[in-house]
């Protein structure tokens, strides 16, 4: 009764606080039976093994790429010092373009922008 009789702004704060707090909102604890517990463990194990494999594969590929860059630069240094100097110039101010977007779950209505107009500079 007393809660209902407070003014509107106080009531709003009370509501906000109750939306934040855990009281009466928590679900029952998961008490899995023995069989389900082992099943869950197996699922988790499989996921961990799977992720480990994926990460290993990525790591191997990145290492190979790094080695390949290193070899290319080593070779370029031998073949053409000028080109090497240009290729090894640090690009400190270079930024990734905003047009490079991260993938979405579903494609946009027009999956690709074809009508690109080159700027004046390039011509």
């Amino acid at each position: 009764m007393r809660i209902n009789s407070v003014n509107a702004s106080t009531q709003r704060v009370v509501n906000q606080l109750s939306a934040l707090s855990a009281s009466k909102k928590q679900p029952k604890l998961l008490n899995l039976c023995k069989e389900d517990l082992i099943k869950h463990k197996t699922i988790t194990n499989a996921w961990n093994v799977y992720q480990r494999k994926v990460n290993e594969k990525r790591h191997i590929q990145l290492n190979a790429q790094y080695k390949s860059i290193h070899e290319a630069m080593e070779d370029l240094k031998q073949t053409s010092p000028q080109l090497y100097a240009l290729a090894n110039k640090p690009e400190k101010k270079k930024k990734f373009p905003l047009d490079m977007r991260m993938p979405t779950d579903y494609p946009p209505t027009k999956p690709w922008v074809y009508n690109y107009e080159p700027s004046q500079k390039r011509k």
Partner: protein, 372 residues
């Protein structure tokens, strides 16, 4: 279920590859199967919601149980994936690999098998200890609790360094006195417990669990010493030997020295180097520690018998016989009303009685005359 042969089980002859490897027992041990077959359907095929899981006992609780959504479908895919990975590992095992390498690969191939996990979680006493994967899980369990507890007690009660200087525990040592008819004393004893004399008046059952593969013909020594026997001449303590087993052959699965073995006359003759005599503390002589040490015999059989000297030097004994300490256990005793009866049983004279109050007499160095 548990094979008692000491021979090395399970070698994989030739290359072997099957994607349904976890349901194929032609080359894998039968002991990797679910021990209790009544759980098989619930675990591998899914729980029927109209009957509920088998592991819950009460019918109403069984029906009221709800599995997480989509657990069975996910489990099926996970099982297939892990089984495939396991088959790949089995394909790597051949006869050229060393024993350690084979064991390592066997652990890797079976460690995620849900049947193995279920066995180790729910029937840890019935598992086959010859299988490296089970030993690995046993070791993890031991290291996560029991090893820490026993080392804490051994340190707190000064078993190290009062008997042996230090301990690098390799085996799990469990002790119980199965002749007891009271539940409190008939279970496995937690290290450091204070026990009454009647609870220890018959020799204990000792379990020594090795976690690495035990080499053939490896022998063990077990010594029970009491470092708190009063020595009135010097006003200090001396160590007495209460029980000694030597040259005991043990394996991963055959690892208990208990009633069944002691009943055998040959065993008693060959391995009991000193008959069991329980600790019988005298009145007001305070708590005494019964320290049980387990040694690996690194240089074969011990031939010499143990002398009857008054003060037993366990360090010297271990060094002269090149024994490696691998595990220990401790319990405590003090004078209680059953001590006199135990003394009578063992034909011991009546115990001395000491003053209740501790006096300020200094220690008398050995060799000086006994003048207080």
């Amino acid at each position: 279920m548990i094979s008692s042969s000491y021979a090395r089980p399970l070698r994989y002859l030739g290359r072997y590859y099957s994607t349904k490897i976890w349901s194929d027992f032609s080359k894998r041990s039968e002991t990797l199967k679910l021990i209790d077959p009544k759980y098989e359907k619930d675990l591998l095929q899914g729980i029927n919601p109209d009957q509920g899981p088998n592991s819950l006992v009460q019918p109403d609780r069984r029906l009221a149980y709800h599995s997480p959504v989509a657990i069975d479908e996910t489990f099926k895919l996970a099982y297939e994936y892990l089984e495939g990975e396991s088959a790949k590992i089995y394909a790597k095992i051949d006869d050229k690999k060393s024993v350690e390498e084979t064991d390592r690969l066997l652990v890797k191939a079976e460690q995620y098998n849900p049947e193995v996990l279920f066995n180790i979680e729910n029937s840890p006493t019935q598992i086959d200890r010859e299988q490296p994967v089970y030993r690995k899980y046993l070791q993890e369990k031991w290291e996560s609790h029991d090893r820490m507890l026993s080392m804490q007690r051994l340190e707190q009660l000064h078993v190290i360094p009062d008997t042996m200087p230090t301990l690098d525990p390799k085996v799990e040592v469990k002790v119980k006195f199965p002749h007891n008819t009271v539940l409190e004393f008939s279970e496995w004893i937690e290290p450091g417990t204070i026990l009454p004399a009647f609870a220890v008046d018959k020799p204990p059952t000792i379990q020594i669990q090795e976690f690495d593969r035990v080499a053939e013909n490896s022998l063990y020594t077990v010594l029970l010493v009491n470092p708190d026997t009063p020595d009135l001449e010097t006003n200090t303590f001396k160590t007495t030997l209460q029980y000694a087993l030597t040259n005991v052959p043990l394996s991963n699965s055959n690892n208990v020295v208990g009633t069944a073995k002691l009943l055998d006359d040959d065993f008693a003759k060959q391995h009991v180097a000193r008959e069991y005599e329980p600790l019988v503390p005298e009145k007001n002589a305070q708590l005494q520690r019964a320290c049980l040490w387990v040694f690996r015999q690194s240089s074969g059989e011990i031939k010499a018998s143990i002398g009857e000297e008054d003060n037993f030097d366990i360090r010297e004994f271990a060094q002269s016989n090149s024994l490696e300490a691998i595990g220990a256990h401790v319990w405590r005793q003090q004078f209680d009303r059953s001590v006199n009866q135990v003394r009578q049983e063992y034909g011991l004279p009546n115990g001395r009685v000491f003053h209740r109050v501790r006096k300020a007499h200094p220690v008398i160095p050995a060799g000086t005359s006994n003048v207080v």
